[in-house]
Symmetry: C2
Subunit: 239 residues, 2 copies
Amino acid sequence: MSQPSYRVDPGIQSLDMPSTTSSLAVELTNTLRDAIITGEMAQGSKLSETKLAQQLDVSRGPLREAIRRLEGMNLVHYIPQQGARVVELSVGFILQIYDAREALESKAAALAAINMSSQEIDELNRLVDAQAKQMKENSGSFVSAESDYAFHEMLIRGSKNQVIEHALLEEIYHLIKMFRYQSDTARTSSNNALIEHRQITYAIEQRDPDLAETMMRRHIARARETIKKRLARQVASRT
Amino acid sequence: MSQPSYRVDPGIQSLDMPSTTSSLAVELTNTLRDAIITGEMAQGSKLSETKLAQQLDVSRGPLREAIRRLEGMNLVHYIPQQGARVVELSVGFILQIYDAREALESKAAALAAINMSSQEIDELNRLVDAQAKQMKENSGSFVSAESDYAFHEMLIRGSKNQVIEHALLEEIYHLIKMFRYQSDTARTSSNNALIEHRQITYAIEQRDPDLAETMMRRHIARARETIKKRLARQVASRT
DNA sequence: AATCCCAAAAATGTTGACATTTTTTATGAT
DNA sequence: ATCATAAAAAATGTCAACATTTTTGGGATT
């Protein structure tokens, strides 16, 4: 029996682990999270503890903990005595996610207009500028998903409300990333979205919570409608 | 060595476990959840795995799972290599919780006005009637917390949005119950609240999402202000 | 008396084995 | 052939032991 070698190097290395030598369970959570978001683990497929443990060369203890965390992130659906399965993103579920996002993130925008520091607002402006630059350079009318996330994440953190922050970043955005990643189109933000980002940032800069909230609500509602139409078309074209 | 007897009877029996012979980990989650809500486990106190396992006569495996779940419920704060502690309800945190609740539950009210069945609306009316009756009988101007939760839970479930439902019922309401339970006053809903419940129910009955949303937003914002004033007074009186 | 350092103790992290339940598969009856 | 049933296989649930890290506490030094 070889002496136990804790700390297994995960196949997919998570990008964010600066100082805290995180536990194996946390690393597993990140590995599985990314595998689910990218579709490497198919929607509806089972997370077999036995197979995954063997595959990743870890024991089932930390693996079970990781699955519990994924459950809390809404990424897997767990049934006692039957195991966990990757969540399935039906059209209805995606629209529900966007309704929840609209409610939370519009409030986050209002709070950001109150609580963000000047430095943070400067940073927000820089992110929008970067998006504009990206759009020009790519000569297309779309910006990268990463750039879009950066803007929304900055704003959400600016709300300084840890409950809203947790609900959005830990439980809703993973699902949105998963949906976008696995959608046919890699493109995400349109030209309209860039304009809306500018308007929202301006409202925050003016310290106008109501305006920021309204703009954000419309921004997300519009995105929801775009998805709704696109998915309806896809379903229709399958006949 | 006695033969292992799985399925330990928990000290605090959870009320809701009809058919699914839930696992030990789930039972532990409910037991600890209630202990935290009631204050039996003090805010900021540590959940020592060793001691709790011994105390509840279970092994650390299921206990750790339960703690992971409590983490997802925002009831404990966990730091790797240091363990979990019961969340501390500072004034600022409570107000953040109410902001998140306002955003989510106002949307839930709007959706309930669209998605609730006639039978469900009838049930909602019955719950409000029960509150009115309770208020008369007790000859006071307050109704029980349970009665208040029943109304809000019915409405939230009526939204038919599982994301909002999960966020409110599994992550926010436990904290609100904890706060109310450990507050000096056992009384919760005022006479105003009853009137507001009637108005919200009426808006849903009329299938008016915007009105239901607005009424709910005010209902929760008012509750937030009441708490804010009361807590400010308490802090001030400690000087 | 205060501070630093190191060993002992206790707590958390991880593992492999055993218990129980669910799923699969083979067998037999209708 | 189809369905039901039961044994076998595999998966999930639980436990106790070991590994590693953090905390504790005593003693030496300043």
